[in-house]
Amino acid sequence: MSSWFALLIFPGFLYAVPMGWLMLWLERKILARLQSRIGPPFYQPFFDFVKLMSKEPIPRAKGEDVFYLLTPLLALGATLGSMTLLPILASSSSAVGDLVLFIALIEISPIGLVLLGFFSRSIFGQVGAIREATLTIATNLPFITALIALGYASGSLRLSEIALNAPSVVRAFALLALLFCLPIKLRLNPFSVANAEQEIYQGALTELDGWRLGLWELVHAVEWVALSGLIVTLALPWRSGVAFLDALIFALLSLALVVILTVVAGATARLKLLQASRLYWRWGFGLALLALVVSLFPFGG
């Protein structure tokens, strides 16, 4: 399977974008049903995107527009790139150390949001950027520790080998820690501190209009697919070998993960920045550390 196919078709652009829209819709729909509303129709994120791209935003200086165009495109490319590293199919060949590359690529979009918040020169954008940066550090501590534990326990930094060989005890603890990091990376309740709509008008995105906002909505959709995809590929210790079946299982499990995350988000209220980061430094990191300690012992392997 060539890497161009992976980047552009599966699990890249042609899969990730419609799937991301489906996930954004599922999130809004489940939230609506939990509040006994009917909720938006399934094509909602697609039409939101088309509308945003077709608006005529207020003209800005050319230099600013270069920034507004390049940051989301870079984040989109990086997130799609991280998707290609996921060992979804049995035939997915992964390079040495693609775990490290995955961590690097998935972090481009938070960094882009932080830059964007400061660049927008809006007080809400700056507060959003500070919150995003604080939470990125707080969440990456357990996130990376859990991935190190998985890598150490399976004796490899290849995602495909980790997915197939990681011992089950370590895998259970590490996946719990990774799952714990997901709401903050997707900016969901109760950790939607950086994009709080009511307090800071969606933080870094406050000053964006038209296509500038539309591109970031697209990045967010693809982020959903990539991060839920990471959990699903690492949770499944086997591949059927039939490409279509593996892809289908991957897609369905990703959607199931969206349901879990949305139910948690719908049932909780937003925490404060201090509470959220303390939760990750203490409990998230504690869980990941447990996975790391277990991976050092032979019964973990």
């Binding site: 509303r37 909602q44 939101d48 207020i58 038209g210």
Partner: protein
């Protein structure tokens, strides 16, 4: 070639009609209309099934919902916020205040009515109007939004 262009225009118009995002601005009203407006977002009326979303930033919005007679204090903010919204945009005047000043008319602190400052597309009369009436007004505003030219020239595309 023409068929392709008209298909594109139809897609864009359809998208505009299916995803109108609102920005809500109180220009010195008594808060009565705002309570009725927020009732539209509750599960009973559930505007999200029409793709409507209440946005915190005017830059994200398509429809500006104004309530209140425009007071001297809010007049500058109103004009800034209208200018920040990307075209195509429409304005809904909620309640009697933005239309006529209502009971606040001729007050020295009132600079309105609203039409002195920005062009209005839809009036929703009432003091306050019921949520059903506000929804009807927003539905009319969506039709105006769809009718805007797809390749307009900024604010002048206003009809």
């Amino acid at each position: 070639m023409d068929a392709k262009i008209s298909l594109f225009i139809r897609l864009v118009q359809s998208a505009r009609g299916r995803s109108p995002w609102l920005f809500h601005l109180n220009c010195g009203g008594c808060n009565g209309c705002d309570i009725e407006f927020l009732a539209c977002l509750t599960p009973r009326y559930d505007v999200e099934q029409l793709g409507i979303r209440l946005e915190g930033s005017p830059r994200h919005a398509d429809i500006l919902c104004v309530s209140g007679p425009v007071t001297r204090n809010t007049q500058a903010a109103l004009q800034t916020i209208y200018a920040q919204m990307p075209a195509p945009k429409v304005v809904v005047a909620i309640g009697s205040c933005p239309a006529s000043g209502n009971v606040f008319a001729d007050s020295p602190s009132v600079a309105g009515p609203l039409e002195k400052f920005i062009p209005i597309d839809v009036y929703v009369p009432g003091c306050p109007p019921r949520p059903d009436a506000i929804l009807e007004g927003i539905a009319a505003a969506v039709q105006r939004l769809k009718a805007r030219p797809v390749k307009g020239k900024g604010d002048e595309s206003h009809v």
